[in-house]
Amino acid sequence: MKSVITEALILRTNDYGESDRIVRFMSPGLGKVSGIAKGARKSIKRFGGCLEPFTLVSLTVQPREGLSLIKEGAAAKGYKGIKNDLERFAYGSYLLDLTNNIVADDLDDESEKVFFLLKNALALLEASDKPEEVVREYEVRLLGITGYMPSFLNCLSCGDPVDRPMDEAGQGGPVEAVFSPGDGGVFCRNCGSEKAGLESISIGTLKTLEAVSTKKVSFSRNAIEESGRIIPPFIMHHLGRRLKSLEFIDKMKGGV
């Protein structure tokens, strides 16, 4: 196959052998790709140190089965605001890690959406003083694109909207529902009452999460806190393991 030039976001890198580097990147046209850059650690001329996480690059790639060949690369943007700030680095690492783990290698049609979603999230994170909001928004939108969106507003058991009022007059609507990471959604008050150990989540937060996938919404302080308690556990349940990058965020929050 012929070489192509593509924009890409570097997700992770591993040094390989004497001077090579194996690079995982997200490209709008090629999707999530693993490639090898021969001599990358020595050749400033061909790569100029651009093969690092948190870099938007232009790559010359020869797609191949298994490892593609990365022939050249130049940095287009370095996301300094993420690299120079430990908290943003922690959240940013999680964004890349999540993308690397959730996005399927053959997500052909949706790769462009994922690429621009990630590019946008990194740009927001770089300047944001609310990194958690950027991350929660990214999680939900990524789940939407990859087809794993939880059910936020309809009870998984009876199907009713979880905010349905109690009586005909529309009075006494519930203020909370419970979220089950294992089942991938919410249960209304009735159906959820038998289930033990589930997080209670306010209807307001659930509405915010539902709206995030389609429009720009601002998270309330409570919505950030509550969604942080349900979305990562849902994703970890789905992946079948905890991501180290998420543990690192928790560690940073706990004061190193």
Partner: protein
């Protein structure tokens, strides 16, 4: 490799696991060993085993050593109140070669890389804090590589050591000696501008 006798094929297989050694070089090395004397072969095998048996980590700085504490930690003529933090033992060798640094070392054995599953607990971070807390360290020089993860590691160390009031410094970044400006990438030049100094 099917046409070689099994023992030699196995040796080629083992040798080609080394970094930078392809099958061709491995074959050359294997035949060199085959042709060498029995004593030479035994000495080679013995040396390899000795590395595995005698080399361990210094209990103070975590450098690889055959005596504990290592020679650098034991050397009382070296500055005791300055520590240089590096990623790996090979970095110690590089800094020692300059002859510029006369303090002690602390080897992390890696860098912070949440994306690659490496958190602070996978590195020698707690022991660094203990060393700084236990004795009079005046300065900690962070000499991790000037890459994204090396930088994050440096920021983490600075944060970790902040409560102790110790001076934390970072190796300067910028232009390599003997280079020419027009050949450097933007990131290198911008680091050099940021790190400029009075003359």
């Amino acid at each position: 490799m099917g046409f070689f006798a099994k023992p030699i094929a196995q040796l080629i297989g083992e040798l080609s696991k080394f970094p930078g050694i392809g099958e061709k070089t491995a074959t050359r090395l294997a035949f060199h060993i085959l042709r060498s004397s029995r004593e030479d072969a035994e000495s080679l095998a013995g040396t390899i085993l000795a590395v595995k048996e005698k080399i361990r980590l210094c209990s103070k700085c975590f450098n690889i050593t055959d005596e504990d504490p290592c020679r650098i930690c034991k050397d009382t003529r070296r500055q005791q109140d300055v520590l240089c933090v590096v990623e790996g033992p090979q970095d110690v060798a590089v800094i020692e070669r300059t002859g510029e640094f006369r303090g002690g070392y602390h080897i992390l054995h890696g860098v912070l890389s949440p994306i690659n599953g490496i958190g602070p607990d996978d590195l020698r971070m707690k022991s660094l804090v203990r060393r700084v807390a236990d004795r009079d360290v005046r300065e900690v020089i962070v000499a991790t590589n000037p890459k994204v993860e090396g930088e994050a590691t440096a920021l983490y160390i600075a944060k970790l050591l902040k409560p102790f009031g110790v001076k934390v410094t970072r190796l300067a970044q910028g232009l390599p000696m003997g280079g020419e400006l027009e050949y450097f990438d933007a990131a290198t030049v911008s680091a050099a501008i940021e790190g400029r100094r009075d003359i």
